[in-house]
Symmetry: C2
Subunit: 413 residues, 2 copies
């Protein structure tokens, strides 16, 4: 039975979802980060031996926050110079900051030593590396520009740079309980915002207006930022795997796809709902039901393995469980993208769930990822349903962090 | 005489500033970009000979748009893979895109050849480079990560990578008339938004609320995006060279600094106004007047040189003209940052105006930059006034693109 059949009163209401975290909660998460950082650093340092390095130089903003507590806003890394970049030695952590950022670094990264530098890192590189007693430094090669690498290399012949990739990313895939709480809080902000938007969706409103209204709901009700720009795609546009909201009115009889997420205390959410504007066509409802069934299949596989205490599936197995439902049905082609992705300080992070995910790597635990199958009929319509789920093998438990219902919802009638 | 003395009716009104550009204007700018791209590419190719290269590989989003027309949203480069990256050969331009972006690339970069690639650029590198008949490729070394550089290097021993920096940046410092028009339109959106906000500023509103309200004004009245996050800093906070709006109420007797900008058709604005909340202290007004005088001194130097048809000043001379007014007054220290920066597709670009700018490089023409002196009294208050000005040596003309008045304005009474 669709929401339409039950009438509009069965729509989820904003009050169905948790409110924004109060200041005391935000303060507690900050305190828990401080408590967690020594263990995060131990995991990183445990990699030093095998790689033959005695320090780690990081520049990725997510890693700054994770390992030192220092925070840059979205896009701020482009103007922050070297501020927030850090060197983890065997004993201590050094955070770089120019004069604009020294006060902030002292406050947010109190366990780190501050190293003032202003666009002159190469000339100070020997001094910096020597200050932690290092000679061979692992460097985030996927994030350090080639010109910076060359400048550091020329600056100190006695310091060896070792390109490394994915170390902190792999560690970040396993989540602490307080990280999951924040992702859950970001999910609730997004759930609530969409519930608040439902009664305001009318044929004639433009995709752009609805995207802005949803953004505003999130940002005035607990989101410190968006996880990414809101996608609002109607009708045939919903079949595009990538598309920005247009200055074009939505119409009755079309699907309306929202893909959006909030950021709370640094952590992000990501969800997709495909709504029906006015009377849905039977074919469109069938597509929707099949996508929902595909999503359930992946979640049931995960739940079954967790309940048995068996090995967790790989990301590829989870993808296959969802994909095979659509393939076996045979009426429409399954999604061309992957089933899902990890999420946390970044919107897309490990683990990856898809056909090209490693065949042998079982999912980590505790972790959180999206489950987002879809069916896209080019030139006609598209449906995607995306929820975040957290899994905990020790507790034998899967939790759906996205609480917004995934039954078909009709709006604008 | 302050605005306060004249009464609130003398505040600028939103109607004082140009409205958002109509769709026909946006279409015209797109057409003019298409017309301008061959000359932009000629300027780039003119650098090939001296550097001994026969192609240019670019990855910076601003350069994609400038040279090919392909557009990525802010931060989208992090998820777009190689989409939008491009290779300029002697005769043609090739734009990379994965399946999510091929339709967009065909539409936005119609003069370029499309090259489909999905996370496998190294394995296709030889083919790509050979397709434009190149052997030595200039590469944007300040933007290509070291790991990508290594992968390309290993992929094709017969292709030589030549690290280059600042080529397109230097070309972009000189602006086409239609680029200046768009920056002017972005200035008008910002001017108008602040004018609309003035009557709504009251003691008790928080910095965060006011920053959000100003953002909303811009984004619902012509801005396709912000140029950067709105800074709204009150009282002692305004003395911070870098600061995010807080969830704290503003109070009467304090200064209130807004630093903000809009983006229109890809081009950005940047302005700062420091308002007075309620009755200003005489000292604070004196600081304000001195900053305004400092700004005028730099603009007068530029105007004098333009009128004489003399060589344009260097960025360092312009900075010295403004700085010396504050230094010679002697009551308060001059700003620690530079006087200004170029602006266009990026918020900060060449030319640079400051103490460390090149001593011999005169400002280019036509160009546009901010003039933003300030005085910061730590723990007490700060004042900055920032306008964009465009200069055209051939026309002997300076135009203030920021039209919002820079006389003292009192709000919240």
């Amino acid at each position: 039975m669709t929401a339409r059949a039950r009438g509009a009163s069965s729509w989820p209401s904003p009050a169905d979802f948790a409110g924004p975290p109060p200041p005391a909660q935000l303060a507690e998460w900050e305190a828990l980060d401080r408590v967690a950082r020594p263990a995060r650093l131990r995991r990183l340092r445990a990699r030093f031996g095998e790689a033959g390095v005695d320090a780690y130089f990081g520049v990725r903003p997510e890693h700054m926050r994770y390992l030192t507590g220092f925070r840059l806003g979205s896009g701020e890394d482009k103007v922050a110079g070297q501020s927030g970049q850090f060197l983890v030695g065997g004993e201590e952590v050094v955070v770089l900051a120019d004069s604009r950022y020294t006060i902030q670094a002292g406050r947010e990264a109190p366990e780190s030593r501050l190293f003032e530098v202003y666009h002159d890192l190469p000339s100070r590189w020997t001094e910096l590396v020597a200050s932690v007693g290092a000679r061979r430094v692992a460097v985030e090669a996927a994030f350090v520009p080639h010109s910076v690498w060359r400048a550091l290399e020329s600056a100190a012949a006695e310091v060896e740079l070792v390109p490394v990739e994915g170390w902190v990313e792999a560690d970040r895939a396993t989540k602490e309980p307080a990280e999951l709480e924040r992702i859950g809080a970001a999910c609730a902000v997004a759930d609530r915002a969409l519930a608040a938007l439902l009664p305001r969706i009318r044929p004639g409103a433009t995709e752009l207006e609805l995207a802005m209204a949803l953004e505003w709901e999130m940002r005035t009700s607990g989101a410190e930022a968006l996880a990414f720009d809101v996608a609002c795609l109607s009708g045939a546009q919903a079949a595009l795997p990538h598309g920005a909201p247009r200055d074009q009115p939505i119409a009755a009889g079309e699907v309306l796809l929202f893909d959006f997420g909030a950021q709370v205390a640094g952590y992000r959410s990501d969800m997709t709902r495909t709504l029906f504007v006015g009377e849905p066509a039977e074919r469109d409802l069938d597509v929707y039901r099949l996508v929902a069934r595909s999503q359930r299949a992946a979640i049931q596989l995960l739940e079954a393995r967790l309940a048995e205490g068996a090995a967790l599936p790989t990301g590829r197995e989870a993808d296959a469980a969802a994909r095979s439902v659509i393939d076996e049905d045979g009426r429409w082609p399954a999604y061309g993208h992957g089933l899902g992705h990890g999420i946390g300080l970044a919107t897309h992070e490990a683990p990856s769930l898809g056909r090209s995910a490693a065949a042998v790597a079982e999912l980590p635990s505790r972790t959180v990822f999206s489950v987002e199958p879809g069916i896209y009929l080019e030139g006609e319509m598209g449906v995607r349903i995306e929820d975040l789920v957290a899994i905990d093998a020790t507790a034998g438990r899967l939790e759906r962090l996205t609480r917004f219902p995934s039954t078909p919802i009709v709006v604008g009638r």
